[in-house]
Symmetry: C2
Subunit: 430 residues, 2 copies
């Protein structure tokens, strides 16, 4: 059988990593696939790998359209513009596409799946989610015999690195972010990562596969980590929790619910010890139970390995539908409003004067909210001191009502900060 | 397309679980597959599911030979006898086989793969390893773009349950085993589990796939958990470790090394918090890095889900080679003798009299072994007291030589017990 001919558009870290795998002669890759052409913005940039054996194409869309390319690998990124045009071009002529572009899939996944089904080219995207962790394949194939009812993940390595560093070093969000930017771990404009949008793109893809639904990015409720402070991390630690940016999708009788937000995890939660730039996914599925997948969520090696696993899947003729099922079978379930019942963490910055705690307690009691733990930091040089509390299980609405009432007291110096305490881990054992 | 017709031989917990998935109408299963016939030893036994819709076949080999069956599901178990005859019969006529039989695959995997390749029937066995955790698919597909150099797992739920219970309750191995037998978590003859043989079967399969080698069960060095005592668990805990039965395969320049044995894990090791009947696998692969997979390792639901995922893979035409590569490409690398350099845990039961500790220290010093930590339990009513120590990094041979010399001192009441301290976890972060 003739080898499948591969063209790569985008030679950043991941693209260069894939070229290196071909150059290194990995057997399962090179036995059935030939890298023949590459495309990137800047031909002169050094990428740590010899590109002279591959045809250079200036225009990625032209590469996608080239009938001599069997598999178009899109590693440029961006939900619109060239990346979208190139992927659509390749799929429209029946070529296979491998991409790491989560934004593109989250926003245009259904349309791309349609092109794939119509023209026969496969569309694979293991590298779009979880770096080297095979989250997409796990959901598409391994959990195929199950009904998934929840996916809960740490899907953004930059946020997880920042939160881990804040805890380890006691430094502020702004400090650690600035350092991460200097080291190249965070973008100059970090909004996509720290604002939770990147995790939301990935969650959209995972939820669609897990629940058999159309990708529905607009339905993800998104909150970033910008307001997580040193105080929050220290206080959470004292209370036995760790703060993580959690991306969660759940299929309930009311429909699908998706959110990305910082939350407090008890230390025995399967995601609590997923630190640094690691990514992880917990899948709750019947009858398999709870499955956890952990590994490196970004970087040249892990992401290139995921691209390679997709290429091998194509070469070995094992690729199925983009979202595991034919598009016609993907549902559009109601967008559920979550029950939002649980325990909550609240941080208040209050002016330190007599009667303040009593007044706050009174407003909480008025909404029938029971306090589980309460910590007041010693007053320092600042005019305001943090008060931190966790509630017993309750609905979110009365907590928000109480916080509004507390703000009206005119004793706080900034808006209260509210985070949910993630449900405790399922207890294992037989 | 006509549905694939499935026949199941073996209706224990897992078999009944698979029947329930068909009876429950799981879409991806039932759209393309029909369960048509079943076979088991006892037709009259109640299995909690209605079998009247399926043809009953007394002889599993006859079911395997039946040309109206497209997929033969073998859930009887046993490396020889009927299970082997039935699987060979099915494969020899070109039928697909799905099995959970790890002993059969560990001992006869190459022969069965040969039958599969020769006659065209696929052979899948996700349920043979890790219960509901997709370890086989992870290695065959997701890590396809990598070179794996080590697989390290907790692969036997019974052992992990016993060790977890010993730690939680402070009871002895014999006590917890007896309870596990009463509860049905351990077999009447527990040797296959507690002796490490079941884990070795599974390790054989995983190593073959991970390293692209022929299954080589005879090369696994196997040690069970029978000698792990309450003292060991308590002392390991005091030193910051947890004892686990570790199954590990490694590909080095010298060849493949495989062992199953109890070991001490630092609490931040990715496997240290895998408790109860959970199973887990850590794959070290380049360039993906370290990947961890955790989930329920046994039981009706998880194992049935894995069987179902194999059936769906067959129905969707995605099944590849049994061990990921054609048989002719599987290597027979040298059987490596491990370097066995690391830190060791030693428990000595000694007669409590002056000079004993000095004599022991002397024998260790004679072999140039540096002690890292040393704990002596207070003397109780027993004539012997435990002394526990960990060494600094050293080769295993001098430790064994020192222990021999210590035994010759005639101050010990039983043979010294030696366990390795597992290498620390890879440090994550960027």
């Amino acid at each position: 059988m003739a080898k499948l001919r591969v063209g790569i558009a985008g030679l950043g870290t991941v693209g260069a990593g894939v070229v290196k795998l071909f150059a290194g002669g990995h057997a399962r890759l090179c036995d059935k696939l030939d890298l023949v052409a590459v495309s990137a913005r800047d031909r002169t940039r050094s990428r740590g790998v010899d590109l002279s054996a591959y045809r250079w194409v200036d225009d990625p869309v032209a590469l996608a359209a080239d009938p001599s390319i069997d598999i178009f690998v899109e590693l440029m990124g961006g939900a619109e513009g060239t990346a979208k045009a190139a992927v659509e071009t390749a799929l429209s002529r029946g070529a296979h596409v491998v991409t790491a572009n989560k934004a593109l899939l989250a926003l245009h996944g259904a349309r791309l799946a349609q092109l794939s089904e119509k023209h026969g080219g496969k569309l694979l995207f293991e590298a779009a989610v979880g770096g080297g962790v095979p989250m997409v394949k796990a959901l598409k194939e391994a959990v195929a015999g199950c009904r998934a009812h929840a996916v809960t993940g740490i899907l953004n390595g930059t946020c997880n690195y920042i939160l881990t560093e804040m805890e380890a070093s006691g430094r502020s969000f702004a400090d650690v972010l600035a350092e991460a930017q200097r080291l190249g771990y965070a973008e100059a404009d970090p909004t996509t990562d720290v604002g939770g949008f990147d995790a939301a793109h990935k969650l959209t893809i995972l939820s669609a596969i897990a629940f058999g639904t159309l990708p529905d990015y607009d339905h993800v409720r998104i909150e970033g980590i910008e307001r997580v402070s040193r105080t929050d991390i220290q206080m959470a630690g004292k209370l036995g929790y760790r703060i993580k940016l959690i991306a969660k999708g759940a299929l309930t009788e009311q429909g699908v619910e998706m959110h990305v937000r910082p939350a407090l995890l008890a230390l025995d939660h399967p995601l609590a010890n997923v630190n640094g730039s690691l990514n992880a996914l917990v899948v709750d599925a019947e009858p398999a139970g709870q499955l956890t997948f952990i590994g490196r969520g970004a970087g040249e090696g892990p992401t290139a390995a995921s691209v390679a696993s997709d290429l091998i899947e194509l070469a070995e003729g094992r690729a199925g539908y983009p979202f595991a099922r034919p598009l016609a079978q993907l549902a559009s379930p109601p967008r559920a409003t979550p029950a939002e019942r649980g325990r909550y963490y609240v941080r208040l910055m209050v002016i330190d004067r007599p009667g303040v705690v009593a007044a706050i307690s009174d407003r909480l009691a008025h909404e029938q909210i029971s306090i589980e733990s309460f910590l007041q930091m010693p007053a320092g040089e600042e005019p305001a001191v943090p008060i931190v509390l966790t509630t017993q299980a309750c609905a979110r609405a009365p907590v928000e009502a109480a916080l509004k009432a507390i703000q009206a007291l005119d004793v706080t110096t900034e808006a209260p900060y509210l985070m949910p305490v993630e449900q405790p881990a399922v207890r294992f054992g037989r």
